[in-house]
């Protein structure tokens, strides 16, 4: 596959690994957060930590829209479809197995008779609305800035074609706001995790542009490297971060130059600005309430807002007792620090969103087995969840 295979090549990987091992200063640690859940997934799926020197520690960020969606918002979707038999809830596959309150999932609601349908694209949801004129189709919109423009296009098309039975339950969230919350967390707080630099998301950046991260060096003095999606992109980005830190620099650098520009996709940005408006505040699992961090439909498109059409109410909900998803999402705890990890909470019976989403840190770690391999490391030299060497 062009533009994919070349960026998974073993030969180049070995070269980058050699460079990383040579340039990482043995006298210091590099604590680097990969913000995006897709990067977390790729890191474990390809075994990137195996190629890193022991003093580079990868901290998993909250860039997993499934993981950060508050349980209360998921409950709203489930209540909607349980209370309104005329509603077809069209959802991406990612959301179907996430446990809400009472550990109930959308898939279980479907088994109990609710009309929940998996779609690959918002255009599939529009098609459902067209072919089922007597039903109400509600599209469960989730995702960071990558996924928001497609939802916007869907809403615009619905308005143009007067598709009255279509609406969107909007849960789109913003990356810089979440990154700011992580970097701005009070230092010295036991919950705050120390981060030296950030690997920025690939496809969010295609939309918002690399300039959108200037606040990281400007306000927080942290370097950011925007990384492509493939494992070699991640390796090269780590090298660029190591070099910045060695040089004492803090800049925004773009490694994903084949797809990301400084200003991003202007057309997409303008569309999103037209169709959506900023919510004053929004609750994030793990990060608490963050001001101006999420989107709702703008007034001009109110007719297509499911929250308005169905008078949906948000009720804050607690996660399962003992679930450490909030701390894992902040990076202040590792999966194995959670008492439920791999005991009561497994991909087969997930108790929290970090385990049910493919790119949640707990799922990635469990599925790709880091902890099982580390259990066998020789005494005195264990590798932790991020690949760092720990004293046993």
């Amino acid at each position: 596959m062009k533009y994919v295979d070349e960026f998974r090549d073993g030969e180049r990987a070995r070269g980058l690994a050699r460079a990383l091992c040579a340039e990482a200063d043995p006298a210091r640690r590099y604590r680097l957060m990969e913000f995006c859940g897709g990067h977390t997934h790729a890191v474990f799926r390809y075994g990137v930590p195996d190629l890193l020197p022991g003093n580079i520690e990868l901290i998993h960020g909250p860039g997993c829209p499934v993981c950060v969606l508050p349980i209360g918002r998921l409950d709203m979707a489930r209540r909607l479809v349980e209370k309104h038999p005329e509603v077809i809830l069209a959802s991406y596959g990612d959301m179907l197995r996430v446990p809400g309150s009472g550990r109930r999932t959308l898939l279980q609601a479907k088994a109990d008779g609710a009309d929940v349908r998996m779609v690959y694209s918002v255009s599939d949801a529009l098609e459902l609305a067209r072919t089922n004129p007597q039903r109400q189709v509600v599209f469960f919109g989730i995702g960071f800035e990558t996924t928001t423009p497609p939802t916007a296009l869907g809403i615009v098309e619905a308005q143009k074609n007067k598709l009255q039975n279509f609406s969107v339950f909007c849960n789109h969230v913003l990356t810089p706001a979440a990154m700011g919350a992580i970097l701005g967390a009070p230092a010295g707080d036991s919950d705050t995790v120390a981060i030296d630099g950030i690997i920025g998301p690939s496809h969010v950046s295609v939309i918002i542009g690399s300039d959108a991260y200037r606040f990281c060096p400007d306000r927080h003095h942290k370097p950011v490297v925007i990384a492509g999606f493939e494992p070699l992109d991640v390796l090269q980005s780590l090298l660029m971060l190591v070099r910045q830190l060695n040089d004492g620099r803090a800049e925004v650098e773009n490694q994903y130059i084949r797809a990301v520009t400084a200003e991003g996709n202007r057309r997409a940005q303008e569309l999103v600005a037209r169709v959506f408006t900023l919510r004053e505040r929004f609750e994030w699992r793990g990060l608490g309430e963050i001001p101006r961090s999420a989107l709702a439909l703008a007034d001009a498109y109110r007719d297509f807002d499911a929250e308005h059409r169905f008078a949906m109410q948000y009720v804050a909900a607690e996660g399962t007792k003992g679930c450490e998803c909030p701390a894992v999402l902040r990076g202040s705890k590792k999966p194995e620090d959670c008492a439920l990890f791999a005991t009561a909470c497994t991909p087969q019976s997930p108790l929290g969103s970090c385990m049910v989403s493919d790119e949640g840190a707990c799922a990635a770690y469990f599925t790709y087995g880091r902890f099982r391999q580390d259990a066998l490391a020789p005494p005195g030299q264990r590798r932790g969840v991020h690949g760092e060497v720990r004293k046993a």
Partner: protein, 355 residues
């Protein structure tokens, strides 16, 4: 006495079956004339063999001297027809393969049908003809069957249950618990073809592809493999639901070993890769219906591979890994970039993702 008694089998006056526009009715399962006509004019006509033509409720045959294998399977796939096959051919190939994975020559199959009222007879005829062709190709006979009809809405068109009987090939002793450290792991061809071909028909995942299901009977391939390296074969298994990942995890557990795969050695068609990348799926978790995994002693691996590659169903065969010592009994893989990861059992059906 005249030989044209209407009570002799095959001599009865049969009504014509409206295969063009008729549908399955409740009386087709009621045990009366309608059912017998359906059986005679559709099933028996297609499957046509001496045992079946005796028209008894059971088939009688001589049991050979060596060990036998027996298997049962049910098929509920939807849609009924897909590129490269249908529920009928899948039923035959699937059952034959269960027997072949026991290191056996497939002999006889049974086929029980649960039909939904309203199923077009034309569709049923298509399925039955497809089964007959698959059986002929595999060299097996369908010697007994059963027909039931359920009310509209209580079935998915048609469900098929089968049983199969085979005779173990002399010198072959394969079982899931026989893998040992040092053994090599081979696959007979490209992985994920069936799952992706069927997925492309599912609403909401629409993409067009030339890809067809790989559904096929593997008994011929197994016979050739057994002739070449019979005693050195340790495990034979076809990676159907759950894909290669589920199957090798099962074997690792059964045998009390670990298995290490090489990602660069896995044969995957470009279209399967493309579809899996599009949907965020892993080919190792996707179903196959015409492939087998074989674990064999290391010293015969190269020879066995060459033998397989000369067979039509083994052209893309490859050595993909080896069995190792591992107290954790994990299936692991060296990735494209030289890292290591566990290939875990999937829990439930793999769902496409956008993140």
């Amino acid at each position: 006495m005249s030989g044209q008694s209407e009570f002799l089998p095959g001599q009865r006056q049969a009504r014509r079956l409206d295969l063009h526009s008729g549908t399955v009715q409740m009386n087709h399962g009621a045990g009366g004339r309608a059912m017998t006509d359906l059986i005679d004019l559709l099933f028996r006509k297609a499957f046509d063999n001496p045992l079946l033509n005796q028209a008894n409720d059971q088939a009688r045959f001589h049991v050979p001297a060596q060990d036998m294998v027996m298997t049962t399977d049910s098929f509920v796939i939807s849609p009924l027809f897909f590129p490269g096959g249908d529920i009928g051919s899948l039923a035959v190939h699937g059952t034959v393969n269960d027997l072949a994975m026991g290191g056996a020559e497939a002999l006889y199959l049974t086929a029980g049908f649960i039909l939904e009222e309203g199923l077009p007879l034309a569709d049923l005829a298509r399925i039955v003809d497809s089964m007959a062709a698959a059986a002929r190709e595999a060299g097996v006979q369908i010697v007994s069957g059963d027909t039931k009809v359920v009310e509209r809405g209580k079935g998915d068109g048609v469900f098929i249950n089968t049983a199969g009987i085979g005779r173990v090939i002399a010198g072959v002793n394969v079982s899931g618990d026989r893998a040992r450290p040092g053994d090599k792991v081979l696959i007979s061809g490209t992985i994920g073809d069936h799952g992706v071909a069927v997925m492309s028909l599912r609403q909401g995942l629409s993409f067009s592809t030339q890809l067809r299901s790989d559904s096929a009977s593997l008994n011929g391939l197994v016979a050739v493999m057994a002739a070449r390296a019979g005693p050195s074969l340790k495990v034979l298994r076809d990676p159907t639901r759950g894909g290669v990942a589920a199957t090798l995890n099962e074997v690792a557990q059964q045998s009390g070993v670990g298995i290490q795969l090489q990602e660069t050695a896995l044969p995957v068609r470009p279209e399967v890769r493309g579809a899996c990348e599009l949907l965020g799926l892993d080919p190792l978790n996707v179903a196959n219906e015409g492939k087998l995994l074989v674990i064999c002693e290391a010293d015969v691996a190269d020879e066995l591979l060459a033998t397989m590659q000369q067979q039509p169903l083994g052209r893309d065969a490859a050595i993909i890994g080896e069995v190792i010592e591992d107290p954790l009994l994990l299936l692991r893989m060296t990735t494209h970039i030289g890292g290591d990861r566990v290939v875990d059992w999937l829990h439930g059906e793999q769902l496409p993702r956008i993140c």
